[in-house]
Symmetry: C2
Subunit: 422 residues, 2 copies
């Protein structure tokens, strides 16, 4: 096979593939891409994989995981079951990730087996460990909120005292957070008791909080933006337009592409930051950089990096319908070191709104209504069980009138979530 190395295993662990059948590959010399984790990000890789004749194999959390419903090769295993992950990877030409949670010792074992991993563990650590991320971004000159590593309430109070104003302060676990989980806001010095459980966990030298917590200044931002780029092992890179993201309770609610009112100069500056981070950290695959835009009277707008993700990201879901090459297609191309596709938008505006579950589990009736109300809407549902407040899909509309797109997508998402009934 040209350009794609085999998994390079000297010995196949556990005798054969440890019970995992190798997925049948498409004829013609096309590779198998393994994805650890069977969530909606893995699921949304399957449509472009089908078009491109790439075979996916997904290591799924359960037989009814989002991606397992649509990918024929979806063996079930935890992502921390070393022997099963190794057996899974042995049948793939390259392995990538649906999430950041694969432990370092598992990644190290796969590397020792010769499995091509993208992103590579030495890049992925900056998406897994927020302290490592903050340190590294500082080294390469990327502006971030003021931060400190804290292990005690006293250290946190000391960090706060250095700020203007002192409070509120944001406290994050260094690992394992997503969608607002692992983040707390401390409003004042007398609220520190609310962190007692976290500081207790810091004392466990084997536990996930052993490195302490990340304290950050509260940034009074005007809005949040995200830069999405892709980078291949050869170093080719491509960037989508900078988008505006709106969060609700720490979870992405709406994305507008491109970010309204962003000057060409600021757009170029932010894209450069995204590409600089991807290059400096050696990212392979898609990288999302979430940023705060802060306007201080008299000093213009500055941009501070909030979070990184090294995988397709909610801020890029609009690209499925709104861009020539979606983030899912681009991620597959990048991890295979294939030439990257054109990331340019296909319409002046795209608006993506997440769909959250209603308090009843039947969704098909609302879906029919939404289709009838808006024939141009693109509906994406993830095959997940409907639970109140759970992220179960998204809708996108593309066109030239951004206000109309906002209204159409909001109506559809609210109807599907049972928030409105007309």
């Amino acid at each position: 096979m040209s350009g794609v190395s085999g998994s390079g295993l000297g010995e196949v662990p556990l005798g054969g593939f440890g019970g995992f059948a190798a997925p049948p590959r498409a004829p013609g010399g096309f590779p198998v891409v393994g994805i650890i984790g069977g969530g909606q990000l893995a699921r949304m890789c399957q449509p472009p994989a089908i078009n491109l004749s790439l075979t996916l194999s997904v290591l799924a959390e359960a037989p009814d995981a989002s991606a397992a419903l649509v990918v024929p090769s979806a063996p079930v295993s935890g992502h921390d079951d070393l022997q099963r992950v190794r057996a899974f990877a042995a049948a793939c030409d390259v392995v990538t990730f649906d999430h950041e949670h694969v432990p370092a010792h598992v990644l190290a074992a796969l590397e020792a087996d010769g499995v091509p991993l993208h992103p590579r563990p030495e890049a992925l650590v900056y998406a897994q460990d927020k302290l490592a991320m903050r340190r590294r971004l500082g080294e390469i000159g990327v502006a971030c909120p003021r931060w400190a590593q804290v292990r005690t309430a006293g250290e946190l109070a000391e960090f706060a005292a250095g700020g203007t104003p002192s409070w509120p302060v944001i406290v994050k676990t260094t690992r394992g957070g997503y969608d607002g989980k692992g983040v707390r806001v401390v409003d004042a010095a007398d609220s520190l008791d609310g962190l007692a459980d976290w500081f207790a966990l810091v004392e466990d030298p084997q536990g996930p909080f052993r490195d302490g917590l990340l304290a950050e200044e509260f940034v009074p931002f005007d809005r949040e933006l995200a830069v999405l780029v892709a980078r291949s092992p050869s170093g080719q890179a491509a960037a989508w337009p900078v988008v505006e993201t709106e969060q609700r309770d720490g979870v992405c609610a709406r994305v507008i592409a491109p970010a309204p009112g962003l000057s060409a100069g600021d757009c170029a500056q932010l894209t450069e930051i995204g590409l600089r981070i991807a290059g400096a950290l050696g990212v392979t695959g898609v990288l999302a950089v979430e940023m705060f835009a802060v306007t201080a009277p008299g000093s213009g707008t500055t941009y501070l990096v909030n979070e990184l993700a090294m995988r397709p990201h909610n801020s890029g879901h609009w690209s499925i319908d709104g861009s020539v090459t979606s983030q899912f297609e681009q991620h597959l191309r990048a991890v295979l070191d294939l030439p990257l596709g054109d990331p340019r938008p296909r319409a002046p505006w795209s608006v993506m709104v997440n769909v959250f579950g209603a308090d009843h589990d039947e969704l098909y009736s609302a879906y029919r209504h939404v289709m009838a109300a808006d024939p141009g809407l693109k509906i994406h549902l993830y095959g997940k069980g409907v639970r109140s407040g759970r992220k179960i899909g998204h809708v996108t509309a593309c066109g030239s009138d951004v206000d109309a797109l906002r209204e159409r997508t909001a109506h559809a998402a609210d109807y599907l979530a049972g928030v409105i009934d007309e």
Copy 2:
């Protein structure tokens, strides 16, 4: 489940599902669409099915059929194995088709079982039987080439004698033809011996040629066009722009959407013909109407219907990338009686070119080259074994300069087919 009836079987045939596991469906009340036949048309239904949370189940010719590589539920059976087809259908909410070859007695048995079929057998017959199609189109006033049913060389010679000029004449088998198969051109009266084998088969009262052959005048067309429409059981209909198709050796080679130089009046007239046929024949799902455009000096352009297909069709592959709602998404919506999506184009022009196999079976190197040469090209490969001249995929480019799109798609298809190497 709202709006989708179950398969309605009073008794499940063969005890359970005859060895076919019912596909796991997405939670929320979403239906299972069964497709008989596992070719590329079934395969290209899977990306929109994933987006829409619809579950496909494909009755595949082989475990490595094009669609079986990408759809988790793909039991293997011939489409004429009555008991296995019935068992397959029993696990689906609606059944549709990848091709026209399911025999009438199988369709009748499924209807007797209460399986919702779309298109319904009484519509599908006009795509299966070219004589029935010609008779019915005449009844509803749709212009066709001059034709006759012929059973002997003498009847064919008599038909030819009625034409101006008499020769050449096109002779078609009434059933089972596709991609140029089942079509012969007879150049002159002294070439009739070339049909001796077909006329011999006509004599077999049980054979597939028992209804005789379809003779048609040779139409000296300027170009070929195709009208693609979708119609739902409720009668909702939608039409894509009329396209120009170019055939090579009877096989679709290139499609340009919309058809260049077609006047708005002619476009409306042709769309009306497509919608009239869909309504009069009771089509449910996608209908493709292939037409000849013939310009006679002094009398303008007339349009004659050549062929019908009641399924997604090669003339509509451009719609995956070029239209808000692709023919594959629309077919799924239509057969489920869901509201239809917007069929409007997303760019001024789309050009689709089919990819045929080269004489070597490795394709991945050429694919990398094509990706590098044209980052905006959309590549679609069907997971089929590469054989010289076999249709293995297509490429589409969308934009505002139709000549540039022609050039880009031709280069990519020629490179993938091994016709050029730079």
